[in-house]
Symmetry: C2
Subunit: 289 residues, 2 copies
Amino acid sequence: MTPTIGVFDSGFGGLTVLRALLTQIPQARYCFLGDTARLPYGSKSRRTIAKYAVESAQFLVHEQGAEFLVIACNTASALALDAIQEAVPVPVLGVIEPGAQAARAASISGDVLVIATDATVQSHAYAEACKARGLHGIERACPLLVPLVEEGWTGYLPGDSPEQAVTAQVIRIYLDQLLADAATQSLQPDTLVLGCTHYPLLRPLIEAAVPAGMRVIDSAEATAEQAAIKFGCHTKAAGATDPSHLGTRESDTPQIRCFATDSVEKFERLGSRFLGRPTGTVELVDLGG
Amino acid sequence: MTPTIGVFDSGFGGLTVLRALLTQIPQARYCFLGDTARLPYGSKSRRTIAKYAVESAQFLVHEQGAEFLVIACNTASALALDAIQEAVPVPVLGVIEPGAQAARAASISGDVLVIATDATVQSHAYAEACKARGLHGIERACPLLVPLVEEGWTGYLPGDSPEQAVTAQVIRIYLDQLLADAATQSLQPDTLVLGCTHYPLLRPLIEAAVPAGMRVIDSAEATAEQAAIKFGCHTKAAGATDPSHLGTRESDTPQIRCFATDSVEKFERLGSRFLGRPTGTVELVDLGG
C-alpha cells in the first residue's frame, strides 16, 4: 500500500511536520501545499481562514488525490479543522490535538507550558485541548521566534555565533516570563509544548534553556505519530523493530511534490532547512482569491 | 488654508511619517489609511501591489477629500508610485526619493548605507534613487527589526533591559555585516538611511551603534520636509522662526482620522507608539478584495 498524504500549511513551516511524517510513514506519497500567497492566516477572520483552508484541502484531495490530510498549520488547525473535515471525504488531522495528547503522556504535574505565535495563543486552542485532557496549559506568544528561524539564526549554526547568542537570549527572555507567570499562579510546569511548526528548528536552543527535567514536546513529531495511528499506515521504521521496513528505497528517496500559491523562490530557499532535505522544484498553483 | 493630507501605508508603520508631518505641517487635516487586511505588500507582485495601493489612494482622495497624498510605505513607493500618480488628480509623494535626497545633502563621501525590509531591498529602489543623485547606495535587508519594534523591544525602554540589549545586539550584527560589505568594496560610507517606517522607533539604538561621525537619515522626517515644500503648505513651526505658528491650537490638537481595512485592535494598540500620541478610534473600512 502506498497511501497519498496531503499536507497543508499557510506557509512552509509545516515542512517540519512533513519531515516527521517521512520518519513515521516513509512509504507514503506526499503532496505539500503552502498557501503562501494568502499568509499570514493569523491576522484574518475565522471565516476567511476557513475559506482558504477548505480551498487548499480540496486542491490536495480532488486535484492531487490525497487520501489523508494533515493540517500542518496551527492557525488553520485551531480555526478551520471542522470546516475542512466537513468539506473533504478523507480523514483529517490537525497539529493541536496531537501536541496536547503528547503533553498528557509526558506531564506528571499536569501543568504544561505552550509557546506559539500570537494568533495561535489568541485562539486558546492549546489551552482548551489541554483542559479537555485534565491539564492546565499556560500559553505565551513568542512573535520573534518565527522571524529568527526565517533569518536562519537557529541552533544549528556551527560554534557560538553572535546570531545564535541573540536567539538563545530571546528564548531565555520568553521562558523567564512564562515561568514567572506560572510561579505567580503557583503552578509547577514540567512540560513545554512547541506550538508552532517553525519551532522544531530551535529545539536545541530551547532544550538548553528550559529548567532541568522539563520535557519538550514537538507537535510536529506528535502529529506524525498520531497520523501513523489514525491513518492506519504505521510502519515500524520509527520504532525500528521490523527490519524489513528499514532502509527501503521508499525511505531513502521519499516521494514528495511541493506546491505553493506564491513566493516559490522563498519556499525553495528556506524550505530545505525545515524539511531537512531539498524540497525539489516547488510548483506554483493558483487557488483564486 | 487647512489642507487635507491623505497618508497611506500597508500597515501602521507609516504613522511615523504622519508624526513627522504633524511637526512640519501642524495645521493640516490628516486621513491615515492602513491597508492592514492585505499586508504584507512585500511578498506580492507589482501588479497586485499597484491595484491595492491605487484603491487605497482613491479612497483617501475621493471619499475623504485628500488634496495631497503621502505614500508612507516603502514597498508601495518603490513599486506603485507611478500607478498612484496616474490614478488620482492630486500631488503624490513617496518616502524613497526624499530619503535619497536627504542622503545627498548629508553625505560627503557619496557612499550611503541603506537598511530596509527584504521587499524594499529586493526592489533596489533606494540604490536607484541614490544612483540618480550620484551616490553609491549599499543596501541590506534587516528582517528582524520590524518584529522587534512590534514586540516593543525598542530603544525607549527605561534602563538597560535584556529586551533592549537583544535589539542593540541585532542592530550591531546587521551593521557589522553592512560595514564589512562596504569595506570589501573599498567604500567609505558616512551616512545611513533608515529605509523602513518602523525604524524611527529604533533611532536611539541605531545612533548608538553606528561609527562615530556617521549621519543617520530618517526617511519619515525627510518625507515630511519634502511634503511641506512640494505641497506648498510649509509653516515655520518646525524651523521655529515665525512665532505666530508656534503653539497654535491646531498643533496642540491635530486633526487626524485613522482608517484600517482589518486588525483595528492591533492598530490601536501599537499605533500610538508610532504616532507618539493616541491614534483615537480607528475606523474599519472595506476596500473589497
